[in-house]
Symmetry: C2
Subunit: 390 residues, 2 copies
């Protein structure tokens, strides 16, 4: 019998929707995807045959995944970086690498590392554990407080209404041994995200920026094209590229930015497939999931171009414990036959991301409005559409 190149095995730490949506890309390229899942009855655990029940936070479980994998990657960043260093020392490539990943895990590290690049953040102060809160500048809209580590989907971010509430928040964060970032609150923000995918040799592709919409710190939707003027579009793409290069990211790097007075301010970055790239499944030549896997196994990257005039994506955010999108699937699919529904197989909870809906249209606003209408049906919510809240 002839022997052939074994298909590469990618071990992914975490078994949520990002691992779940990576599987179709792995199927197409015949890559073996192993995922380490805390719950086999949800997300990737339901749909990936290489799903292994284990704790992504347990060193033994992670080492066991690495033993079976040619390369390790992640579907979330709440990981033990020392453990990842041990995997690298043991001979298993980890992509993105632990040093690079630290800048996604820790917002204060990100700010440190990008000093010297032409990258602006909102005006901010870093308060380390043991330090006192310094006097704040006179920010007209007040401050936003962020825990440097551990936040996601609106967790780890607070909007204090008074100086005393602010001090109290910072005190609590730092007392837990976490660095706090106190940042100027900016009104009426226009938010964009840019995804860069980068191979180990530095070869990179850059997706066009998308405009994102948040509610209570959770992404509710996006539209593309983002509607930036060409000079600004070029600037934000260049910024994202230089960030990914500077941090030596391998795989996806999603840079989230505010546009304030016509200038991009970096908000945070992710080093994994990201909510702001879900539209690429249908609307781009190569999806973020496929390009992340290509980068991780060091294959040439795919064309990131948008294939269509415009696209909108809306998240399905749970409205209660008792309404599951599956109950509403017939209603939602009959509402708009062109809507692309993605369900994550997760137990419903209020505010939880249970899936998303993508719609292609001629204009980004129309695409997002249609996607939101279908997502709201699937959420069982009469919640206002994205357009009304942003």
């Amino acid at each position: 019998m002839t022997t052939h190149t074994k298909r590469p095995t990618v071990g992914m730490i975490g078994g949520g929707q990002l691992a779940r949506m990576s599987h179709p890309a792995a199927i197409a390229l015949d890559l073996e995807l192993l995922v380490l899942c805390a719950d086999m009855a949800q997300g990737a655990g339901l749909v990936v045959p290489g799903a292994v029940h284990g704790d992504p936070d347990d060193p033994d479980d992670v080492r066991s995944l690495a033993d079976k994998s040619d390369v390790i990657t992640l579907d979330h960043e709440l990981v033990d970086l020392d453990l990842l260093e041990q995997l690298v020392d043991g001979g298993t490539p980890v992509r993105p690498g632990p040093h690079s990943l630290e800048a996604a895990v820790d917002k204060s590290v990100l700010r440190d590392r990008l000093q010297g690049l032409e990258v602006q953040f909102a005006d901010h102060m870093v308060v380390k554990p043991g330090q006192q809160l310094p006097d704040l500048p006179d920010w007209p809209e007040g401050a936003v407080v962020k825990a440097a580590r551990g936040g996601y989907d609106g967790r780890g971010v607070w909007f204090p209404e008074s100086q005393s509430e602010l001090s109290c928040l910072v005190g609590k964060i730092t007392a837990n041994g976490t660095t706090a970032i106190v940042e100027e609150r900016l009104p009426e923000l226009f938010e964009v995200a840019v995804m860069v995918v980068r191979r180990p040799n530095g070869e990179a592709v850059i997706y066009d920026p998308v405009r994102t919409f948040q509610r209570d710190g959770i992404c509710v939707g996006l539209q593309a094209p983002a509607g930036l003027d060409p000079a600004l579009e070029s600037e934000v793409k260049g910024l994202a590229h230089s960030i990914a290069d500077h941090l030596d990211v391998v795989g996806i790097c999603a840079a989230e930015m505010f546009i304030h007075n016509g200038q991009p301010l970096v908000s945070e970055i992710a080093q994994r497939p990201h909510n702001s790239g879900h539209h690429t499944i249908e609307a781009a030549t190569t999806s973020q999931f496929e390009n992340h896997l290509r980068a991780v196994v060091d294959l040439p990257l795919g064309d990131p171009s948008l294939l269509v005039p415009a696209v909108g994506m809306a998240n399905i955010l749970g409205s209660s414990d008792s309404v599951a999108p599956m109950d509403l699937l017939a209603q939602a699919t009959s509402l708009d036959p062109a809507a692309k529904v993605h369900l994550y197989g997760k137990t419903p909870r209020p505010g939880r991301k249970l899936g998303h809906v993508t719609v292609i249209d001629q204009e980004p606003e129309d695409a997002l409005r249609r996607a939101t209408a279908v997502a709201n049906v699937l959420a069982g919510s009469g919640s206002p559409s994205v357009g009304e809240t942003s």
Copy 2:
């Protein structure tokens, strides 16, 4: 704990590439896909967690699949129709139904059933077991001989070069208890395929026709739009729709037709996702795989429209036992960053379909030429491109 609608379980008989490519569509809609696989190390067996090792021809294995499924469907038509009838009698819906499926399984049944519809076939004679071959008309290009059952990918079709070879072939087929069809051989054929998807209530969507290219009876590629004039396009879509209605197909019905002197002649039909619909994964709003699953679980159907100006799809046909597409993936993906590669995880054999490549472009000919170039690299073949052979 709140209980929700259980996600529907679709049992698919067969675990080849059609089952494999159905899994991403099942993931998106959170349908549970079970597949009955003869070989867990190939095709769907590698990538579907609900893959069950068993023999699609073994009644007990099929019954066991049905016991776990809300509905049964198929990834191939070489099935025991009586067994499917038993499943229906036992309370498991089978979609498409066995009576309908008989017209896809048996080319003589198809010809019988469609009498009375405005459907033309090439001039032909049906020779049943025990019958003598009648005198043939004076067909200028001679005859093609088809076994009514059991053929696919060029198997079960012969091009005899003499009257004696023809008689001998028909004798062999009928001696095996199979009906033979002797059909006028037509030169310079322009071949198209039209896919219709139909729900149990008769609601249907029709995909635009594609132009298909065969070599030695095996589909090597397709392009869309097919380049038919609007009246002919409308006619072939109407024909495919009336065939699916008349046969009461539930799920996908792919109708393959020759265009001869400007008239469509039906060649054969399939009642499962079909090679002539692989381009719909990237190029249509709703893929054939998703729409087949929607029909089978009786969800509203998705929009079948092409999203892009033009698309080409080329099969990766094995060139030898010793060349696997995985060995050539880096070379192929660097050749064309916009090519969408789909590998099936199958052991290479000469002529075997090991995967396919889809390319979106402005013109169908360009799209197919590019797809063919990448597919040829992955096949390890210097075989001529589609354009040179057709």
